[in-house]
């Protein structure tokens, strides 16, 4: 039986020839955080990491993946949404409907891994995901907030809480203990 290396686990799957990785993740491995938006590599909703690089899984045949290639989905990014990008997203209330956001976050985490201090131009070039709700300006702001936080923790600063992150950017009131 073919295997996929997903979120640190080697998993068996069965699929007809040509089945995109997206649909194996969603329908066989139960990882529905990765979304379908277009099926033709246009929208980015299906973005996952393959060996740390952002890839649109809707056009990637599952059969093309070797068991040595490490696939990370939104579920495997962090156990509780604590990647600095996710925390910045929470601090700035980036998502609206949220449907594009797994893909956005996977694209953004790949970007800051490659370019820890991305310029606006870097963000323009990397973040080509479609968001119909229109969260783009907060996406940009949150990437900058996360990059700054990552740089700070690298030099030994204690990681900030979501309620402290990006305070000056939008000044959203986070109440500790609430769902948000």
């Amino acid at each position: 039986m073919p295997k996929l290396n997903v979120n640190g686990k080697l998993l068996d799957y069965q699929a007809d020839e040509g089945t995109p990785l997206l649909w194996v993740l969603r329908e066989q491995l139960g990882l529905t955080g990765t979304k379908y938006g277009c099926g033709i590599a246009q929208c980015g909703a299906c973005t996952v990491h393959i060996d740390g690089v952002a890839v649109r899984s809707c056009v990637m045949p599952a059969a093309a993946m070797k068991a040595t290639q490490k696939i990370t989905t939104i579920e495997g990014l962090t156990p509780n949404g604590t990647h600095p990008i996710q925390k910045a997203w929470q601090a700035l209330d980036v998502p609206q409907c949220g449907f594009c956001q797994s893909g956005m976050i996977m694209a953004a985490t790949a970007l800051v891994k490659e370019k820890p201090n991305p310029t606006d131009k870097d963000i323009d070039d990397a973040m080509t995901n479609i968001c119909r709700c229109g969260t783009y300006n907060r996406v940009r702001a949150a990437i900058h907030v996360a990059a700054k936080e990552m740089a700070a923790t690298k030099t030994g600063a204690k990681p900030k809480k979501v309620s402290e992150l990006g305070k000056s950017v939008l000044d959203i009131q986070h109440i500790d203990g609430s769902q948000a």
């Binding site: 007809d16 938006g37 797994s102 783009y136 986070h174 203990g177």
Partner: protein, 744 residues
Amino acid sequence: MSTTSNPSKRDRTNTDTAVAKPSRRTFLKGSAATTAGLVVGFHVPFFNKQAMAQGIAAAPISPEVNAWVVVQPNDKVIIRIARSEMGQGSLTGLAQMVAEELECDWAKVSTEYPTPGQNLARQRVWGDFSTGGSRGIRGSQDNVRKGGATARMMLVQAAADEWKVPVSECSASKSVITHGPTKRTTTYGKVANAAAKLTPPTDIKFKDPKDWTLIGKRLARLDTVEKTTGKQIYGMDLKLPGMLNAAVKDAPVFGSKVKSVDDTAVLKRPGVKKVLRVGDTAVAVVADTWWRAKTALDALKIEWEDGPNAKASSASFAEVLKAGLDAKDAVVGHSVGDARAAIAASPRKIEAVYSYPHQNHVCMETMNATVKWTPERCEVWVPTQNGEAALAATAEAAGLPPAKCEVYKIHLGGGFGRRGATDFIRQAVAIAKQMPGTPVKMIWSREEDMAQGRFHPVTQCKMVAGLDDKGEITGLSMRISGQSILAYVAPQNIRDGRDPVVFQGLNAPGPEASIGYTFPTFLVDHAMRNPHVPAGFWRGVNLNQNAIYLESFLDEIAHATNQDPLALRRKLMSKHPKHLAVLNAVAEKVGYDKPAPAGVFRGLAQTMGFGSYVAACAEVSVSKEGGLKIHRIVAATDCGNAVNPQQIEAQVEGSFVYGLGAALYQECTVKDGRIEQTNFADYPSLKLAEMPKVETVILAWGGFWGGVGEPTIAVAAPAVLNAIFAATGKRIRDLPLKNHSLKA
């Protein structure tokens, strides 16, 4: 009927008026219904189990205090939200409003959706579920605050009863009840059971707005974390035990039928269970996985009877609409004096014809619904903007009384008006009905979603202004020719041939969609022309094109008469102080009195709709090669009471993405009776790199409740079009911009 919904407003903006008309008596008998206010906490066992497995917030076990509020023994508060969350943030805003009057601890608040079936069983205790027309907050503010206040009074009463003290000596704050004289305290969780047994009070006073501690706060959304971890479950993600998946293809030519289907090869494919007819117009493949269903459907040989619309095209529609510009059969929307005579008698006239194309909503999540049908019961899990209409549609399609049906709402991956319609729900029920006992999840491919939209209506508009010798306007006339949304979705609301929604933003002075100018004479009328492409409510609705027509044409008049566009507007707006205030706020924030940076040009627009006043100024530059860059947009909104300003800002920003994507790129063209565009490759959206800086001014002077999800969209295009004219001298009168060259 909710006590708060204003029927005229509902008519104007309802996304689906097919509200259930069940026999209430049968329904009450047939279900475990309770009378409003009594202490039976409802939960839906089947959904509850599934929901927990799926990570959807489980229904509560604790009894409710009233329909809106559940308080658990550990003081956790569950607030019930009737309106759908589709990104607009009203889930959080509505919870803020209940919590404000409830005086509960915000940190302990979570939310859940009551079901449409429960609403019917309980005399619509939650009021209207429909979520469209930017009515989420403004349409239920009274009802939800009453729910919170009533629950608070019952909780405080229960504490007073327990202490045997007068209720007037007790007060509540942050879920703690205090007896003033003795300083004794208890919490909501401790008295919730007793409170739930009390008769709800009827004399309810709302807090004075100056005492608000939650309404008006920049609070974080309640649904953000799940949306950053992939844990949020959307309709498309549902998995029920034994569930199969369906892919569907409806007739590409609207109104045509299936002639024949050859399913021999497809039925042999692995995992394919059935090939089904859905009504006379559609075909579905049911398989174990959706990918198998979809690829089998693609391989299926279907022949269509294309019918009378097989030759229709966008060009043929345009001809029909053009003839409507001078036709006799128009219905007046708003008229002041005799504009035609005044214009005819004027020494100078300006005339221009504008148009607006068909557009698809392209919700990020394509249409889908999951249905389990048995001869006894039909259950539907669906992202819908209108739970009650979904229930009515389910009952009809299932062939069962509403009491034997239920709809479970799921957060939407975008709605924008599309999910107020119930076509896809009927389709999913029709599929599941042919698979009794098996839950079936139907998902549309993006291609199906593009083909089967409920499109932004097409219209053309002839604008004529009369000018006197000094260049002052003597009269303005607007002839709108084209589609009526109501003709497709709620023809019963068209009276004497008049679709009132057509005139959004051009109505006589009043609280809804009123024009912000006073002209000596004015006329807007409508020649209804309805091509076979189904129209629907598309975020911003008719305000979108009406604002383009009026705001662009006023810009034309300003330039033709050598007046500054802001000065001209101010002159015409003196009797419209609210409209003027947002425009002035924009002018001030953008620094209109100083020139824009070198090479940058400004354009203005203002309008009023969905209960709010909005204005924008766009700053753009156009390169010699015709490349457009939108640098900055300053926008102002007066929505009366601003419940959560940071979410209003999010809606304003999102409105520019939606409106600018439409203005720059989006057009659904019709050829051979069908939509030509198939996916994002030929129907682009605005991307992050093109997104201008947006600076939002919120004017919240109170006194009314206006919507925020839609109005700003209408000023996006005209502000940019007017700025493009300032930059290039090119007047764009039909969209999208991609069809025009801005090259010098």
